[in-house]
């Protein structure tokens, strides 16, 4: 049931990203381009998503256990540290360069464009590099 549940979540996520237009990096760059031809789409996507999670997360976390797992694994750290901010800043720069973040980039792999393949390989390399550097 764990894998079936995750598969369902993944399918919904893929539907959401593509229906909302977020698998098109032009929409994402358009949202970040506040001095140019600004596109509000990403704000509505994030608004719709957070509206649901904001209401439902406290309710879910009040359950004694998840449906199909023996524990909740949710971050409880509340300290803002240099790692978090530096990481988010580097991610933001990379995001602004192309308009791709991890979810949309992975979904776009099915389009068969070299750009997305290069992005995903570089992204995984970046993750591996972080692991090497942070050790």
């Amino acid at each position: 049931m764990k894998s079936v549940s995750a598969l369902i979540a993944g399918v919904l996520f893929g539907l959401g990203l593509t229906l909302s237009g977020m698998s098109d990096p032009a929409n994402v760059r358009g949202f970040l381009d506040v001095m140019g031809n600004w596109r509000p789409d990403l704000a509505f996507v994030m608004g719709g998503a957070v509206m649901i999670t904001f209401i439902a997360t406290p309710w879910v976390l009040k359950r004694p256990l998840p449906l199909f797992h023996s524990s909740f694994a949710v971050p409880t750290n509340v300290i803002l540290d240099k790692r978090l901010i530096t990481g988010a800043a580097l991610f933001g720069i990379g995001w602004g360069l192309s308009g791709y973040c991890p979810g949309p980039a992975l979904v776009s792999l099915t389009y068969g464009y070299d750009t997305t393949v290069v992005f995903c390989i570089a992204m995984i390399a970046g993750m591996a590099l972080e692991r090497l550097v942070s050790r």
Binding site: A6, V11, F13, L84, S98
Partner: protein, 139 residues
């Protein structure tokens, strides 16, 4: 219509997906974390199932529901590779991306996620400002 309705509906579906994963497995639907964990982490099977579903959901949307496939991006390979490297490195260092910190973390009222979201949007805006308007034509 397309700048409002579909983004909002898509966003709600993303929220439902994240809540479902939290309710069913007690796990955060952060794509960067799931991707890294699928290769390096414990509990690999559900992560692979999620990623498989992610691509499948995209195919359903384009092939069955007729959502238009986005055009290829006219961005040089060097810039794309640098972008991917920064996104991969940054999301691991900062413990999350748009989904983990944005969709899930904001819903959890996490101060770390709020700080991360403000930071990556600000840096994204600055980057687009610089590359599109100040030294135009880089992308």
């Amino acid at each position: 219509m397309n700048h409002f309705t579909l983004p909002l509906i898509g966003g709600v579906i993303l929220g439902v997906a994240a809540i479902w994963l939290l309710w069913a497995l007690g796990r955060v639907a952060g794509i960067s974390g799931i991707l890294w964990g699928a290769g390096a982490g414990p509990e690999r099977p559900w992560r692979w199932a999620f990623l498989f579903g992610l691509l499948g959901g995209g195919l359903i949307s384009h092939q069955l529901l007729g959502v238009p496939v986005p055009l290829d991006q006219d961005i040089s390979t060097g810039v794309i590779a640098m972008s991917g490297l920064l996104v991969g490195f940054g999301t691991r260092l900062g413990s999350g991306c748009t989904s983990g910190h944005g969709v899930c973390g904001l819903g959890r009222r996490s101060p770390r996620s709020l700080a991360a979201v403000v930071t990556f949007i600000a840096c994204g805006v600055l980057t687009v400002l610089i590359t599109q308007h100040l030294i135009g034509g880089l992308l």
